[in-house]
C-alpha cells in the first residue's frame, strides 16, 4: 500500500509523514555491575571454598560408593529400603549432583562474566573457499578414474543396489497374515475337560458355589507335572502352548440359574448355572477376570470394557463392541466339566477386517 492509495481519513490533518530514523534506539548492553565476590575478597574466598568443598565431598561420596559396593550385604535393609541399592544410589547420585552444583557455583560466582557481543555473519562460505572445494571434488573424481573404469563403477553400483534387497525381504517376517480360519479356531474341542489354571485339576460342577469364579484352561494347556499323564492328555509344549494359551483361556462363573438370561439358542450352554466365557477381552485382548459376582459383570482393567455374563456376555460399558464369546459346557461320564465344542464366536481382540461381516 503506497501513500497515494491511503484513504483520506488517515492522511487528513497529519500532513506529510516525515521519515524517521530508528523509532526505538538500540539500548546496547546494560551496564555491568560487579558481583559481591568480585568486590569482596572474603566473599570470593568463601565461594572458592564452597566450590572446592562440593568437589571434595563428591570425591568422598564416590569413594563411599566403592566401599559400600563391597561392604553392604545384599539382604540388609535401611529405612525399609534395600540397604545396598539405597547406599549406592545415594552416594553416586550425590557425587554427580555435587560435581554439577560445584561447577554451576564456580561459573556463577568466580569465573569472568563480562557480557560480549558476537555479530552474526552470513552462513555462506566465501567465494574462493567454494571454488577450492569444487576443484578438490573435480580433481579427486578424475584421479579415481571412475569415468574411465566403467567395469568397476558399474559393478560397485550393482553391489550397492542389491544391498537393498535383504531389507525388503526381511519384511516378510511381519507375516504371514493368519487366515480367518486360524484366527477363529482355538484348541477347545468337544469333550475336552475344563481344568483349573495353575493346578491343572479337572473341575466338577459340584465344586463351584454360587458366586464362584474359576480361572480355567483347556486340559491340553496345563501340564500336570506327571509326564505320562501329560502324554495321555496330549499337553502342548513350548511356543505351541503359549500360542494356544493366548486365546484359549476361559473363566467359569456360577450364578443363580434364575438370574441368567441366555440369548436364544444358548439356553443349555451352562451346567447348573455355571457358564464359561473367554478370558480374552474382545477390544484389544487383555485377559479379564475382574468379576463382580453380585452384578454378574466382568470388567477389563485395560480400558474398562464391561460385559454382563448373565446376559450372554453383552457389552454394557466401554470400548469393546463384541460380546464376550461363550463356550458351551457339558459334563462327562465322570462328572467333570467339559467343552461341547470350540467357540462359535471369534475369540480375541477385534481387528479392522472383522468389521466387514
Amino acid at each position: 500500500m503506497s501513500d497515494e492509495d491511503r484513504p483520506d481519513e488517515l492522511s487528513r490533518g497529519g500532513g506529510e509523514l516525515e521519515p524517521v530514523g530508528d523509532p526505538i534506539p538500540d539500548p546496547g548492553l546494560p551496564e555491568e555491575f560487579p558481583r559481591p565476590t568480585d568486590v569482596d575478597p572474603a566473599l570470593e574466598r568463601r565461594a572458592e571454598r564452597q566450590v572446592a568443598g562440593a568437589f571434595g565431598l563428591a570425591t568422598l561420596l564416590t569413594l563411599g560408593f566403592c566401599v559400600a559396593y563391597f561392604a553392604i550385604p545384599e539382604d540388609k535393609t535401611l529405612f525399609g529400603f534395600d540397604a545396598s541399592n539405597f547406599t549406592l544410589g545415594m552416594t553416586l547420585g550425590g557425587a554427580l549432583l555435587l560435581i554439577g552444583a560445584g561447577a554451576v557455583q564456580w561459573a556463577r560466582q568466580l569465573m569472568h562474566n563480562e557480557e560480549i557481543v558476537e555479530e552474526r555473519h552470513p552462513i555462506e562460505s566465501p567465494e574462493e573457499d567454494r571454488e577450492i572445494a569444487l576443484d578438490m571434488i573435480t580433481v579427486s573424481a578424475a584421479e579415481s578414474e571412475l569415468g574411465r573404469r566403467k567395469l568397476i563403477r558399474n559393478s560397485l553400483l550393482g553391489s550397492l543396489a542389491v544391498l537393498g534387497l535383504p531389507a525388503v525381504i526381511l519384511l516378510r517376517d511381519l507375516g504371514p497374515i493368519p487366515t480367518e480360519e486360524e484366527l477363529r479356531r482355538t484348541v477347545w474341542a468337544k469333550g475336552m475337560r475344563v481344568v483349573n489354571d495353575v493346578a491343572g485339576t479337572p473341575i466338577r460342577a459340584s465344586d463351584l458355589e454360587i458366586g464362584q469364579l474359576v480361572n480355567a484352561q483347556p486340559a491340553v494347556l496345563v501340564p500336570t507335572g506327571n509326564p505320562e499323564k501329560d502324554k495321555a492328555i496330549g499337553v502342548l509344549q513350548g511356543v505351541e502352548l503359549l500360542d494356544a494359551k493366548a486365546r484359549a483361556a476361559v473363566i467359569l462363573v456360577r450364578m443363580v440359574p434364575d438370574e441368567i438370561h441366555p440369548p436364544p439358542g444358548r439356553e443349555d450352554w451352562g451346567v447348573n448355572g455355571i457358564l464359561c466365557y473367554s478370558k480374552i477381552c474382545t477390544h484389544v485382548g487383555c485377559p479379564i477376570s475382574l468379576w463382580e459376582h453380585q452384578t454378574h459383570k466382568v470388567l477389563c482393567p485395560c480400558h474398562q470394557s464391561t460385559f454382563d455374563l448373565a446376559d450372554g456376555g453383552k457389552v454394557t460399558f466401554g470400548p469393546a463392541h463384541r460380546p464376550l464369546p461363550q463356550l458351551q459346557l457339558g459334563v462327562d461320564a465322570e462328572g467333570y466339566l467339559i467343552a461341547m465344542g470350540d467357540f462359535v464366536d471369534q475369540v480375541g481382540p477385534s481387528y479392522p477386517q472383522m468389521e466387514r461381516d
Partner: protein, 297 residues
C-alpha cells in the same frame, strides 16, 4: 484250677458271701451304681458342651437382634426394600461362621451407612461377641466354618509352596487386588481393598465366602493348601523391602507419574532458575570505584 484259690484264698470268703440271702440285692446295687457312675463320668461333658454351644448361640442371637436385625431381619432372613425389592440386607441363612468372622472381625459390619461398598472401620465387637454372632449365624443354616489354624498358620512354608502361591495369586487375584496386593478400582465407586495388613485368617475367609463383589474361591477348586500358599505369598511380598526405592503404594505408573511430574519437574525447574538467576550485584558506584582502584594496584 480255681478250687485251691477258693478254698484257701480271699475268694473263699466271697464264695461263701454269694450264698447270703442279701447277695442278690447287693449285686443289683453295685451294678446300678456302676452304670450310674459310668454315665455320670461321660454324659455330663456333652451336656455342658451342648448347653455352652446353645448359650453361645443364644448370646449371639441377642447381639444379632440389637446390632444386625434392622438390615438382616429378625431371623437373619434378609430384608427386601425399595421399588425394585433389592436386597437391603441379604439373607444370612447359609452365610456361615467364616463370613461373620470376616465381616465383623474386619469392622466392615455393622455398616455405618448404605453405600457402594461396606468400608473397613474400627472393629465394634469383642472377639467373644464375634464368636457368639458367628455361632448364631452358623446355626441358621450350613455354611463355611472358620478355617482351622493349620491352614492359616503360614510359618514353615517352603520355597516351592511360596512360588506356587505366587502363581495362583497372579492367576486369580491380581486382576482386582494388583500384583503386589495393593488393591484397585472397580466400577461404580467400588474398589478391591489392599491385602496389606490383613490377617491370614481373614484372607482365607474372604476367599471362602466371597464378601461383597468378590467371587468365591471354594476349597474344592482352590484347595486349603493352595490358599495357605497364596496367603504366604501375599505376606512374603508385603514383607519385602522396597528394592527400587519408594513403592508409592505399588500402584504403578499412576502414582509414579504424579510424583515424577510434580516433584521431579518442580526440582528441575528450581535447578534451572538457580543456574540462570543473576546473583546479587554491587550497584554502589563507590564499591565499583574501589574495585577499579584495587585492580589498578
Amino acid at each position: 484250677m480255681h478250687l485251691p484259690l477258693i478254698r484257701r484264698g480271699p475268694l473263699r470268703r466271697v464264695s461263701s458271701w454269694r450264698r447270703h440271702r442279701l447277695a442278690g440285692v447287693a449285686v443289683v446295687l453295685v451294678a446300678l451304681s456302676a452304670v450310674g457312675g459310668a454315665y455320670a463320668a461321660f454324659a455330663p461333658d456333652t451336656a455342658t458342651a451342648d448347653s455352652s454351644q446353645s448359650d453361645l448361640v443364644q448370646e449371639g442371637r441377642k447381639l444379632f437382634l440389637v446390632g444386625c436385625s434392622s438390615c438382616h431381619g429378625l431371623n437373619g432372613e434378609g430384608v427386601l426394600a425399595g421399588e425394585t425389592n433389592r436386597n437391603y440386607g441379604p439373607s444370612l441363612v447359609g452365610a456361615g461362621a467364616a463370613a461373620v468372622d470376616f465381616q465383623v472381625g474386619t469392622g466392615r459390619m455393622p455398616m455405618s451407612q448404605p453405600g457402594p461398598q461396606a468400608l473397613q472401620k474400627k472393629v465394634t465387637y469383642t472377639p467373644e461377641e464375634i464368636e457368639a454372632l458367628a455361632a448364631y449365624v452358623a446355626s441358621l443354616g450350613p455354611g463355611p466354618a472358620i478355617p482351622p489354624d493349620e491352614y492359616t498358620d503360614i510359618s514353615g512354608i517352603s520355597q516351592e509352596q511360596l512360588t506356587e502361591g505366587g502363581e495362583f495369586f497372579r492367576t486369580n487375584c491380581t486382576a482386582c487386588h494388583n500384583s503386589v496386593g495393593a488393591g484397585g478400582a472397580l466400577p461404580s465407586g467400588r474398589f478391591a481393598p489392599t491385602l496389606h495388613g490383613v490377617t491370614p485368617r481373614h484372607m482365607y475367609e474372604a476367599m471362602l465366602t466371597g464378601p461383597q463383589q468378590m467371587p468365591i474361591f471354594s476349597d474344592a477348586v482352590i484347595t486349603p493348601e493352595d490358599k495357605r500358599s497364596i496367603i504366604a505369598y501375599v505376606k512374603a511380598v508385603e514383607a519385602q523391602p522396597d528394592h527400587g526405592g519408594f513403592a508409592l503404594g505399588g500402584f504403578g505408573p499412576v502414582s509414579e507419574g504424579v510424583v515424577v511430574f510434580l516433584v521431579g519437574m518442580a526440582a528441575l525447574v528450581a535447578a534451572t532458575i538457580w543456574i540462570t538467576a543473576h546473583g546479587a550485584r554491587v550497584t554502589d558506584k563507590t564499591a565499583k570505584a574501589s574495585t577499579d582502584s584495587e585492580a589498578d594496584r
